[in-house]
């Protein structure tokens, strides 16, 4: 027996935790067809059934408000799912059930999974699950997504619901006033059979809510004039008796239904004790401590990433050295051994070495995300983002993610409702120093700044942030003039992140990185090796080789920035593919892939500390990788924005590096 279920619910209710609990590593992440919203799918076996699970985006409602809401809605309406599991937070049933009522309007075959009961009990909430189930007319299961509590019961309920589907709209009753007007409107809609592919009452409600998508659909109908006249009539009627718009009237009735339901099934204490979250927030978002705490957390992340990562890094490095030596010992000095050792091991190995730091960085970002702090960071930073650069506090989260990797950062801009905000945020993300730049910094810092490793590293990250702010402010005053969008954001309760969730998340990202190393970076490494070895007979990676000649031609461009040699030019050229390739190119050119120390010595001949810093600045700010450009293309559905990004980043990198180099000279650092 095959069952297909969708997990639906508000953001922050533990939906993804449940998804991980159910499917474990049997999951993969892709995109919704034709949409840029992430789609996580997985499966599990339960008794004799194979259950396919799809994690729907987290939504507060099913209007046409955002792409996420549309995706969820289309899934419920169109897809051949058997059951929709609606995950709700027991501590916040009232607001959570608002989405439930909207799925009931659609008559979805629902199972309600009530999560976080432990927290609800701590607050002395008493939920009568049986009563709740009777009143809603759908199965209600008590679960705890972070462990296995209620998992079997939930799966059994899913199986039963598959065998005996329920029309959940049956028990949904709105007040007589609304119902009677809906009926009238339904009568008019029913005249057109082509509009009856979805419940007619739902179409009526959506029309009263001025849902753009449904309005477009109804406009195709030959009765559209009658329908819209009726909508207008109902609207005016509501205006007269309630003095409210029809959207508000419908929302009020939904909440009234929920209130009636909860009066019977939920007992709360009269006076509620402040939760641990509220107490914690008094300190964490404190007027005086809020910003320092934020800065300390950011600083800790970098310290941990680099100090804990270093020994593992050395270990991997030694492994590759040993591998290279062994291959040389077996094959001797031939073209083949040069290809393997200089090309492949030098290029790819030089990048894999940074896996520990990348894993640690993603590990900490997922801990921050899952614990609920990222939302606080947005809360604390909104004023800065808003007043200073006209961005949104929500842009802050994608930008922070950009420290890990710009690609998930750009994808995270989807939480923002306004297209222009999203694009502006995407354009600034490349300035947030991602982990792919780390190999470059690590190499140059080890070579030139051993005494100030942490400080130099921090200064680069800081510079990136400052540049992002300045560029965003300029763009806001030119290309993106006059847009401000609201800051309505839930601040979820603090939670101890689940180990499983954090590990799965980190694993996914680490795997993505290794895959990138195995494909794009390998291909780049091979091309670099070939260009370094040809024409036949030249010394490997010398100025006479193809690569040397390319570098020599473009190097004058970089001379004003202090690094006008051909090698850095070539490295930057190939670095457009992926920033790690900058280091890979250096090691290939110098043929020192099997020996990290040799590389440091080699670059000492090309750079001074000042030009090294200018070079790192350029790497920090110039064109992000192919993957990032591809993401922008995908997210904005046009080539315009990736091209704008290339132009903006290149110009910025050139200007800032120029200032760093010449400013440094003036200050006597030359």
């Amino acid at each position: 027996m095959n069952i297909k279920i969708g997990l639906a619910g508000n953001p922050n209710v533990g939906k993804t935790t449940l998804f991980n609990q159910l499917t474990g590593l049997h999951q993969h992440v892709g995109n919704w067809p034709g949409k840029t919203v992430e789609k996580a799918e997985g499966h599990l076996n339960f008794e004799n059934a194979r259950i396919e699970v799809i994690d729907l985006p987290g939504n507060y409602a099913l209007s046409a408000h955002s792409i996420e809401e549309i995706v969820s809605r289309v899934f419920i309406v169109d897809e051949s799912s058997d059951v929709i599991v609606n995950v709700v937070d027991a501590t916040n049933l009232e607001r959570n059930l608002y989405l439930t009522t909207q799925m009931m309007e659609l008559g979805a075959n629902l199972v309600l999974a009530v999560n976080m009961n432990k927290f609800a009990k701590k607050r002395d909430y008493n939920i009568d699950f049986k009563e709740l189930s009777t009143l809603l007319g759908i199965p209600v299961v008590e679960i705890e997504a972070i462990d296995d509590t209620g998992k079997d019961e939930l799966l059994r309920a899913v199986k039963d619901a598959t065998n005996k589907p329920i029309d959940s709209s049956k028990k949904l009753v709105y007040g007589a006033e609304l119902e009677s007007h809906l009926k009238e409107l339904e009568k008019v809609i029913k005249r057109d059979i082509s509009l009856l592919d979805v419940p007619v009452s739902w179409t009526a409600i959506k029309l009263l809510e001025h849902d753009k998508i449904i309005e477009e659909k109804v406009k195709e109908s030959k009765y559209f004039l009658d329908i819209f006249n009726e909508v207008k009539k109902v609207e005016e009627h509501f205006k007269d008796i309630f003095n409210e718009s029809s959207e508000e009237v419908i929302a009020n009735y939904r909440y009234a239904f929920i209130e009636g339901l909860l009066n019977e099934s939920l007992k709360k204490p009269e006076v509620e004790e402040p939760t641990i979250s509220e107490k914690l927030d008094k300190i964490i978002t404190n007027r005086i401590l809020g910003l320092p705490i934020f800065l300390v957390i950011m600083w800790l992340i970098f310290q941990i990433t680099f100090t804990v990562g270093a020994p593992f890094q050395d270990l991997i490095d030694q492994g590759f050295t040993l591998l290279g030596d062994t291959i040389l010992a077996i094959l001797g000095e031939t073209t083949l051994s040069s290809f393997i050792v200089d090309g492949i091991i030098g290029g790819v190995g030089g990048v894999i070495v940074f896996l520990p730091q990348i894993v640690l960085m993603f590990l900490m970002i997922s801990i921050l995300e899952d614990s609920g702090y990222l939302a606080r960071a947005a809360f604390v930073m909104d004023k800065v983002m808003h007043k200073l650069v006209g961005l949104h506090g929500k842009s802050f989260i994608p930008m922070i993610l950009g420290f890990g990797c710009g690609v998930p950062g750009m994808m995270a801009t989807r939480t923002m409702e306004h297209e222009r905000d999203r694009i502006l945020t995407m354009l600034t993300i490349p300035f947030m120093s991602c982990t792919a730049r780390l190999p470059v910094y690590t190499l140059f810092i080890a070579a030139f700044f051993t005494a100030y490793q942490g400080e130099v590293m921090f200064s680069l990250y800081f510079l990136g942030v400052i540049v992002a702010i300045v560029v965003a402010a300029i763009l806001k005053k030119s290309l993106f003039k006059g847009i401000t969008s609201p800051f309505v954001m839930e601040l979820p309760s603090y939670k101890l992140p689940s180990l499983k969730g954090v590990l799965i998340h980190t694993w996914e990202k680490a795997y993505g990185f290794v895959k990138k190393a195995g494909t794009i970076i390998l291909a780049a490494a091979i091309i670099v090796w070939m260009l370094s070895s040809f024409p036949v007979g030249v010394e490997y990676g010398s100025q006479d080789s193809a690569i040397g000649q390319i570098g020599t031609v473009i190097s004058p461009v970089f001379a004003p920035l202090g690094f006008g040699d051909w090698q850095p030019s070539v490295a930057l050229l190939f670095g457009v593919v992926a920033k790690e390739v900058v280091v890979g190119t250096f090691s290939s050119i110098f043929g020192v892939g099997e020996d990290g120390a040799g590389l440091e010595t080699a670059i000492h001949g090309l750079f001074t500390p000042l030009t090294a810093y200018a070079f790192m600045t350029f790497v920090l700010l110039y064109v992000p990788c192919f993957a990032a450009l591809g993401t922008v293309k995908q997210e904005t559905n046009s080539w315009k924005w990736p091209l704008v990004m290339v132009a903006v980043t290149t110009a910025t990198a050139y200007i800032v590096s120029f200032i760093v180099y010449h400013g440094g000279m003036l200050l006597g650092f030359g």
Binding site: E248, Y255, S277, T285, D382, V488
Partner: protein, 85 residues
């Protein structure tokens, strides 16, 4: 409608003091429709009790508590919502 008489005074949401609680009375129609629909979904309906929990370190946005959870709004958005004391 005489329901405004139920309250001692009507102020806008951003005028609440820390830890002060009030009841949502109405939305100012100047606010944009998209935002209104979103706020409705997040529980900002007439009659809902709402408490100002915390002002961000830099004075904006403001964190409110309603319907058992916390949500933040900017002052400019809070200005469009009237509450009764």
């Amino acid at each position: 409608m005489d329901e405004n008489k139920k309250y001692d005074s009507i102020i806008t949401l951003d005028q609440l003091d820390s830890d002060q609680e009030a009841t949502i009375v109405s939305f100012n129609n100047k606010g944009d429709v998209e935002l209104k629909r979103h706020l409705l979904g997040m529980g900002f309906v007439k009659g809902a009790r709402i408490k100002l929990e915390k002002v961000a370190p830099l004075g904006d946005p403001i964190k409110f508590r309603l319907k058992g959870y916390s949500v933040s709004l900017r002052k400019t958005e809070a200005k469009n919502i009237q509450v009764g004391l």
